[in-house]
Each structure stands twice: as C-alpha cells, then as structure tokens.
Point group: C2
Chain length 215, copies 2
C-alpha cells in the first residue's frame, strides 16, 4: 500500500508546481521545492531528475535558485561525493523565509520609490492655487500607500516571529472570543526563527564564480 503514499505525494507536487506560476516562481522550481517537502529526506540531483523528468541543467539551475532564496540547504553524506539537497521542515519558518525575501525584493524597492516620489512633490512654492489641491491629494495617497506597506511589513515580521500560537491569540483577541493575556509559550520558537537569513552572501550570478568549496 505504499502506492497510495506515492500517489498522494505526486499529487501535491503537481498542484504545488501549478501554483508556483502564480507566485512568480517557475513550475519546475516549485515542483522541486514540493518534492523535497514531501520526501522528508535530502535528495540528490539524480533523484530529482528521475522523479520529475527534468534535465540535469534545469535541475541545477533551479536548485541554485532555491538555495538563493534560502529555502533549500546543501548537505553532504560521508563517503559520498554527491551533493544532497534538503528543505526546511518547519512550515512557519519556511514561509518566514519566503516573506522576508519577497519583501526585500519586491516591497522595499517600491517603498524606496514612493519616498523619492514624495520628495519630488514636497515643494509647494510657485504652484498655482488650483494645482495645490491636486498636489496635496497626491501626497496624501503616497503617504497612505507607504504607510500601508510598512505596516504590513511590520505585521509580517511580528507574525512570523511569534508563530501560530501568537496568531491564535491575536485572532481570539480581535474577535473577542475571550480575554487573552500574553502567554510565554511561543518564546522557544522565536530564537529558532531568528536565524539571520539576511546575511547570506549575495551570490553574483554573472560572475564566473568558483564552485562552492565544501568546508
């Protein structure tokens, strides 16, 4: 009856791959990610190639992408020259990594641009009275937008720091399900999730990079 298990895994991999497209991630990359997730053990390139029917080159590229995202780690087995790839097993931690990376790549640039736009219209001197109205309205919108983005960013930071228990508390608080006081049950999580992903060395793609030495 291991067949049911395999089918179940295959189904999740397929669907996860399809969904990847919506998230700006190539299907293959998402499939590799899912495969590592369902396998529950490190896989080598040949495993992945065989199970997903993709070429070696493609596998290599997408694995690199996943490592760059901080979602997959390279691991090695004693007496085996192959590299194995392993996924973060903690779902909360995994999504924390995704969120932080997306924020860095996608939200921060737009926040910076909003800042520049804001400066460009900071000066009201020499503007006709009827244009001032439009200017003020535009500034108001910029401020609202920036405020939204930074607030959401802060919220994510908090949520991912405090994990699922924190959210449950938050929910019950807002919905008034009951009076909840801050418990300390989430503190252990915090330290584990605080791994500094941001300090990962920024790999330059274009550079004729030396192969990663296996320390």
């Amino acid at each position: 009856m291991g067949a049911a298990l395999d089918e179940s895994k295959a189904l999740l991999v397929r669907r996860w791959g399809e969904m990847g497209g919506y998230w700006g991630i190539s299907r293959t990359m998402a499939e590799i990610h899912a495969l590592l997730f369902v396998s529950g053990r490190p896989l080598c390139m040949d495993d992945i190639m065989a199970q997903l029917h993709v070429s070696r080159g493609n596998t290599s590229m997408n694995l690199r992408g996943l490592v760059d995202w901080g979602l997959v780690q390279r691991v090695h087995k004693l007496g085996d020259r192959k590299e194995y790839f392993q996924i973060d097993t903690d779902v909360w931690h995994m999504f924390g990594t995704i969120m932080r990376e997306r924020r860095r790549r996608e939200v921060e640039p737009i926040v910076a641009t909003i800042g520049r736009c804001r400066e460009m219209v900071a000066d009201v001197d020499g503007v006709a009275e009827d244009e001032k109205r439009e200017l003020r309205e535009f500034r108001r919108r910029l401020d609202e937008l920036r405020n939204f983005l930074t607030t959401m960013g802060a919220l994510f930071e908090l949520v991912l720091k405090f994990g699922s228990e924190g959210i449950a508390q938050f929910s019950s608080l807002l919905t008034g399900t009951g009076a909840v006081t801050r418990r300390e049950t989430t503190e252990q999580r915090t330290s584990r999730n605080a791994t500094k992903r941001s300090e990962r060395p920024a790999r330059k793609k274009s550079t004729k990079s030396k192969r990663n030495p296996r320390q």
Copy 2:
C-alpha cells in the same frame, strides 16, 4: 511647477509596473492600475492609451482584467458615451480585494488538494510497520501545511477587516508596548470593507459574451 507632479506620477507608474511582474500581473496591467491610482480621477481608454503608449486592444484587455479582479470600476459621465475607469481610492480596501482574490485563486485550490492528499493516506491498514513511520510523518507535514494556510487566511481576513488601527493594537500587544484593550474606533471601516466582492458575476472568457449592458 506641475512638471514635478507629472514626473513624480510617471516614476511611480513605471516602478509599479516593473513590480507587477513579480506579482504575476502583466506590466501593462500594473501600469494601468498605477496610472488610475496616481491620477485620482476616472480615465477613459484614450487617456490611458495616450499616457502609457499601448494599443487599444491591449488597454481593453487589461482593463477587463482589472475589473475582473475587482480593482477597477466602470463609471459613466452624463452626456458622454465613453466609458471611464476608476480605482478604489482606499489603499486598505484595495489590498483587501487583492488578498481575497489571490486567496480564492491560489490558496484555496492548494488547500483543497492537501485535503485530498490527506484522505489518500488516511488508511493505515495493510501497511508494513516500517512504512507506517513514513506515512505518519507525511501526514504530520500535510496537517502542518494546511494549518498554516488556513491560519494565515484567517489572519488576513481579520487584519483587513480591522484596518490599520487594529494592526497597531496587535503590534503593541505582541511587543508589549502597553496594555491595550479593544477600542471601537475601527468599526466604521468594517462595514465599508465588507462589500461582497465574491458575488461578482463570474465572467466566462471563452464565451462569445454579449457586451455588458449599461444599466
């Protein structure tokens, strides 16, 4: 000095468009969205074509996409046969729309699949003892994943219902900045944001659809 205003707007439109790609939205669609946002008034197709240098067909298609997302409304001016397009001006409401739509299109299908996967491995009969371990581990992961997704969904629902004030409270609660009790300041927002977007008629793309009658 209206030049600075125009340049500032153009800059935001360009950057917003670039970012659109990351969000699975075509650049033009994102640019149109941004243009409506910065303009602060309804625009017609010719306005958009002129300002973004895109063809009529492209403009039409992308505007339809935005209307389908519920991000843009069609409006009409008295004595003018043209259609005008208007964006939701409330940033929180706007992102609420995006989040809900993304959840419907992207998160719900994967949650459904997880459910199916879970059922496929529910039965443990006739499984060798050493495979049971793997099975249980797989089930644990599936459950964790589903739990994460539904919790996050609920969180978004809450956050968008309670708006920025709610988040500020949440933040101060978790960080322990001070004892906060639920205030009622956000209630007005709630009703406005509760517009039932989900009941929008599901336009079939493939169908040789009749043109939307202007009621």
